[in-house]
Symmetry: C2
Subunit: 165 residues, 2 copies
């Protein structure tokens, strides 16, 4: 098994904004991100899944303290795009398992998602890279999620670590 | 500006499978990934956005040569979950800008998305980490996308690189 989980990370400083039902054509994602960039908003996660019937949802996370400003900007752009809805939610936490060689292992993601499910923690968003599998969950489950992921992946390896972003 | 783009990466070896309209409750993502893991399927991107009306879409990418096996497994699980649909697509390419400090910069994403939009390249999926912004686009645009992202971010820095995964 070539993949190695080296740590658990969590970030409680973020809030999410979902732009629902935007046209799936070139320039739409650019319009949203450009408006945020113009106002110097910091963006962490950006998640967009495949569209249905020509409409897509784009969700991104911002610092909690920037939420109201980001929300206002987003609503303006969403109106121009005739999006269906804009939903802001500051009760999230991003929890990640960090490692190497994880990109090719469905097993690592399976173990992570199973551990969360076993504890009745719902996964709101998923985003991956080759060194990180991140999920957004409800903020109240942060400590529980970190503890169970630590038990699942790190417990027997004192050299590994939990770290907060 | 603290973020630095150090390279453009692309990966034409992947195909995507979208599981549409799965119940947004604990255990669902785990069920899908466990079935894939059991059959030793390699999974690269996993993207799930926030749900609408209790239903979510989960999309993941697999090696093109594993697509038919992964598709068969996924359809089976999707039936058990009473998902709305399973959509497989092997005509995608994953293109990424790689760098440091990008997680807080809407500007980097804005420039990337604008460059693609300017060339009429539609963004099908977006997934980010602090060192990588990845998009899935139609495979036929691979060379064009890599070239324009290189012109946008790398052109004046011969020490940077384009690399294929
Ligand atoms: C939905 C959005 O990503 C659109 N497809 C775009 O390219 O901008
Ligand atoms: C949709 C899926 O991610 C579900 N929310 C789960 O936790 O498994």
């Amino acid at each position: 098994d070539a993949s190695v989980v080296t740590g658990i990370a969590y970030d409680k400083s973020e809030a999410k904004i979902a732009v629902i039902g935007i046209p799936d054509k070139p320039g739409v994602a650019a319009k949203i991100l450009t408006a945020l960039a113009k106002d110097d908003i910091s963006v962490d996660m950006i998640v967009q899944n495949v569209s249905q019937a020509g409409l897509a949802d784009l969700t991104f996370s911002v610092k909690k303290q920037e939420l109201s400003r980001a929300h206002a900007i987003t609503r303006e752009i969403a109106d121009e795009l005739q999006a269906k809805n804009v939903v802001a939610d500051e009760r999230i936490c991003k929890v990640s398992i960090v490692g190497i060689g994880m990109r090719s292992h469905a097993g690592v993601a399976a173990r992570m998602f199973t551990a969360l499910a076993y504890n009745n923690i719902n996964i709101q968003m998923i985003s991956t890279s080759d060194i990180k599998i991140s999920v957004a969950i409800e903020e109240k489950y942060t400590e529980l999620a970190v503890r169970i992921l630590h038990e699942t992946f790190i417990q027997d390896s004192p050299s590994k670590s939990i770290y907060a972003n």
